[in-house]
């Protein structure tokens, strides 16, 4: 899909990026996992048992995170590999790192004027939810929460100036 938002370095209206972040996320799930994301289930908080992170460096500097439950991470992996979720093991780390990587790339490619001057890091994946996370970002995260097989997943971008 070709939806893009023009961006210049002097005035970033990052709120306008939320629809692009959602579109970028939905496209990755539809094209690479073959499933449509739903509205998030009401009143269910995101349990970040798996957190995949991809750094952005350059004109756009920050961090994209994908958080989900262990069960969701296994289900995503199964869909990517055409396996039952019960059959996947260590591939989970690789798979959700790649999902985060593709969302980050797809998102930045939708920001006109950014893609050429923004690089992505290789993904890092954390398992476990009992951790504190301190961001150096200037503003709060742009976050979307969507439903994947009945559970919420979170995709967030934190921007540094």
């Amino acid at each position: 899909m070709n939806t893009t938002v023009n961006m210049d370095g002097s005035s970033r209206n990052t709120e306008s990026w939320l629809p692009l972040l959602e579109l970028a996320t939905r496209e990755v799930f539809e094209i690479m996992l073959g499933c449509k994301l739903e509205a998030p289930p009401a009143t269910v908080a995101v349990r970040g048992e798996f957190t995949a992170m991809v750094g952005l460096a350059g004109q756009l500097c920050g961090l994209l995170t994908l958080r989900c439950t262990s069960r969701s991470a296994a289900a995503m992996t199964g869909k990517m590999l055409n396996l039952d979720a019960s059959e996947v093991h260590e591939q989970v780390w690789d798979a959700i790192g790649e999902v985060a990587n593709m969302i980050a790339g797809n998102f930045k490619n939708k920001l006109t004027g950014i893609s050429d001057s923004c690089m992505l890091s290789v993904p890092t994946v954390i398992s476990g939810s009992d951790y504190d996370y301190h961001s150096m970002a200037d503003t709060g995260p742009l976050e979307i929460i969507l439903g994947f097989e009945g559970a919420p997943i979170s995709v967030a971008v934190e921007i540094h100036s």
């Binding site: 690479m32 992996t77 990517m80 790649e98 790339g105 797809n106 893609s115």
Partner: protein, 128 residues
Amino acid sequence: MEKIRVLIVDDSSVMRKIVERSIRQAGIDLSEVHEASNGAEALGVIKQHSVDLVLCDINMPVMDGLDFVRQLQAVESAKGVPVVMITTEGSESHVVQALSAGAKGYIRKPFTPEQVKEHVVPLLGGSK
């Protein structure tokens, strides 16, 4: 179309499997599938095995996809083997760099089997 031998280069083993599946879903029959997790490993593989096509990521540790394509030009046994980049790096400058380095095509992730077919089949010509 005859069966082809392919080398898939990506630091993600999950992505290598998806790329292989997409090639098959694009209607391209594979006789051999070789894998490498970075450019340096891929150079080693291609010196030992003849292939008809290389599909290669850009962002990889040890040796990235652009350096791999540049160094591949010096490998005599790989002369004429088309390389198609498959990557999240979708900027115009990356496309230009990849094509200048010697790549014959460029596919952005996320991708469909139809996109793989569109970019790869013309490169295989009638002989494969």
